[in-house]
């Protein structure tokens, strides 16, 4: 199997490279050929993707496209993109995949947190669900631990399931040293320099919630829910 992928390495990279250069696909990392070549990693995907065999051949550039008519070629092409996305979701939570995502993360390849008080924290892509076709990809900020819509509309068409709902949390479980230091800073709305009563009250409530949580964590008590 290893020999197989080596001998056709140049061709195999062709479809994937084209796919990764497509506009909107900037968040994807390149999947190792060996990973796709190992059928064990693709378990269950044949029921998820139409024309599975042809799509897989297209990704591996094994497909004789001249034998297909235009309509079939289009369907297979769509299936291939879908399949690549689903494999991508599995690949990025392997240690090799996480490494590739982290390289991108460190250069801000997924964008920066729009929240002012996060000071341009780098973001990670995340799906809201692992089922394809439900939600487009979102961005997770490890500083405020919240999710944001991507800036650009072209990313609104990328399925969140191609990244999976676990990716950022898996990364920070594996690399706890990369967790940014949290800050309690928050925006304080003011009118002519004076705090707004309602919001100041809410902030005191938040402070209390935070202190309670801190206490709970120090004692090691599990919350009721």
């Amino acid at each position: 199997m290893l020999d197989d992928s080596n001998s056709e390495g140049d061709y195999a990279r062709y479809w994937a490279e084209w796919f990764l250069y497509l506009k909107g696909n900037e968040y994807f990392v390149e999947i190792d050929e060996d990973y796709i070549a190992d059928r064990f990693n693709l378990t269950g995907l044949n029921s998820e993707v139409e024309h599975y065999q042809a799509a897989l051949q297209m990704i591996a550039d094994d497909l004789d496209e001249s034998a297909l008519d235009e309509a079939t070629r289009e369907v297979v092409d769509r299936s291939a993109r879908h399949l690549y996305g689903l494999i991508h979701a599995r690949y990025v939570i392997t240690s090799r995949g996480m490494q590739k995502v982290l390289e991108k993360y460190k250069t801000g390849g997924f964008g920066r947190c729009p929240r002012v008080l996060c000071n341009n924290q780098s973001l990670l892509p995340v799906g809201l669900t692992d089922v394809p076709g439900i939600h487009p990809v979102k961005l997770y900020c490890p500083h405020c631990q919240d999710i944001y819509n991507p800036k650009s509309a072209r990313h609104a068409a990328i399925d969140g399931a191609y990244f999976g709902s676990s990716l950022p949390h898996m990364i920070f479980q594996t690399h706890p040293s990369l967790i940014p230091t949290k800050s309690a800073a928050r925006y304080e709305p003011k009118i002519f320099g004076f705090k707004v009563h309602e919001i100041a009250e809410a902030h005191r409530w938040q402070d209390k919630a935070r202190a309670e949580k801190q206490e709970r964590l120090e004692k090691g008590v599990t919350p009721a829910n």
């Binding site: 993707v49 819509n149 399925d159 709902s165 676990s166 925006y187 809410a202 409530w205």
Partner: protein, 327 residues
């Protein structure tokens, strides 16, 4: 992102800007400086300050000390041409006056938008979606308003305040990074939503994101566990009041008649328009699955808090509605 005043985009060049009008010398007559300034790329957040407001010396109190070449700048803003043509010996370069005019206009703008007329103009822009929507996913495209982090110019660029999460965000487009936040002021969002309390988002719970791995919540005892939920939670989201409030809520809504909730207006911002609408997957093989999370959210409005807020602001709202209808 640091604010760079020298990156100011406003280079008032009538010859370049209005060359299509044929006669470049009279080009400025067709459009006032204020209209030109507000239509400039990156100045989408600005509203047009009325000439009468600027002409009133009282409204300009204290600005003379903050703006170099105040008189020239004021004349440029008000399109008073004669002194600019006279070429006095101490007359500075036209670009210097342009920068002064921009600063002067910005500072007047910050004062103007918290007047009654200014708030009304900003309200129209708000409802038209000119300020964009909150980038936070769980705010579900709540409309935002511009604000500054300081009332002193050249400190920080303009930011956007979201009334749902009560937080501030950098505008999505970099063209706003050169717009000074002081031109909107630190108080504007609060005054805006106090004047128009019916624009405050209702029916969207103060949700926070729960990190999960393979569908299981990440424990808060984990080093990488959730630590920041407090930031997105507000006391009102926990006050589950008795049923009586909900009934008041319903009657109030029907009494109001029109639903002025800003989220019912289709966002026009290109960058955010596609989001959260039924997504146009170019992978046609994926059938659009029912968006259960979103419909679940809208099915359970935070009506207790909603009723509370509506009740307390009922009188103010009625007054505002009247003034709006009258104007």
């Amino acid at each position: 992102m640091s604010y760079l005043p020298e990156q100011s985009p406003a280079h008032y060049d009538p010859n370049a800007e209005f060359s299509d009008s044929g006669d470049s010398d009279t080009g400025t007559d067709s459009i006032s400086w204020i209209s030109w300034f507000c239509s400039y790329t990156g100045h989408e957040y600005f509203t047009e300050v009325m000439d009468e407001y600027i002409e009133d010396e009282f409204n300009m109190t204290g600005l003379r000390q903050m703006v170099p070449y105040y008189n020239y700048a004021l004349e440029m803003i008000l399109d008073i041409e004669e002194d600019l043509d006279n070429e006095l010996p101490d007359m500075p370069d036209v670009h210097v006056i342009e920068n002064s005019a921009e600063r002067l206009y910005g500072l007047v703008h910050a004062r103007y938008i918290i007047t009654r007329q200014g708030l009304q103009q900003m309200s129209d822009k708000y409802l038209a979606g000119h300020f964009g929507t909150c980038p936070r996913f769980l705010c579900h495209n709540t409309f935002v308003v511009p604000c500054g982090r300081s009332d002193t110019p050249s400190v920080d660029s303009v930011k956007l305040y979201c009334p749902q999460c009560k937080d501030i965000y950098s505008p999505a487009s970099t063209r706003f990074s050169s717009v000074d936040g002081a031109y909107f002021g630190t108080s504007f969002p609060q005054i805006f939503f106090m004047t128009f309390p019916n624009y405050l988002p209702t029916g969207v719970p103060n949700d926070y994101y729960v990190p999960r791995i393979y569908g299981f919540k990440v424990s808060e005892h984990s080093k990488a566990g959730p630590r920041m939920e407090w930031l997105r939670q507000f006391p009102e989201s926990f006050e589950e009041d008795e049923d009586g409030d909900e009934e008041i809520d319903v009657s109030l809504r029907s009494a109001n008649g029109e639903d002025t909730s800003p989220r019912t207006v289709a966002p026009v911002d290109e960058a955010t328009a596609a989001d959260d609408q039924p997504v146009d997957y170019d992978q046609g093989a994926m059938p659009p699955v029912k968006d259960d999370q979103r419909s679940g959210v809208s099915a359970t409005p935070d009506s207790a808090a909603d009723a509370q807020r509506q009740n307390s602001t009922k009188d103010i709202m009625a007054g505002i509605e009247q003034t709006r209808l009258a104007s």
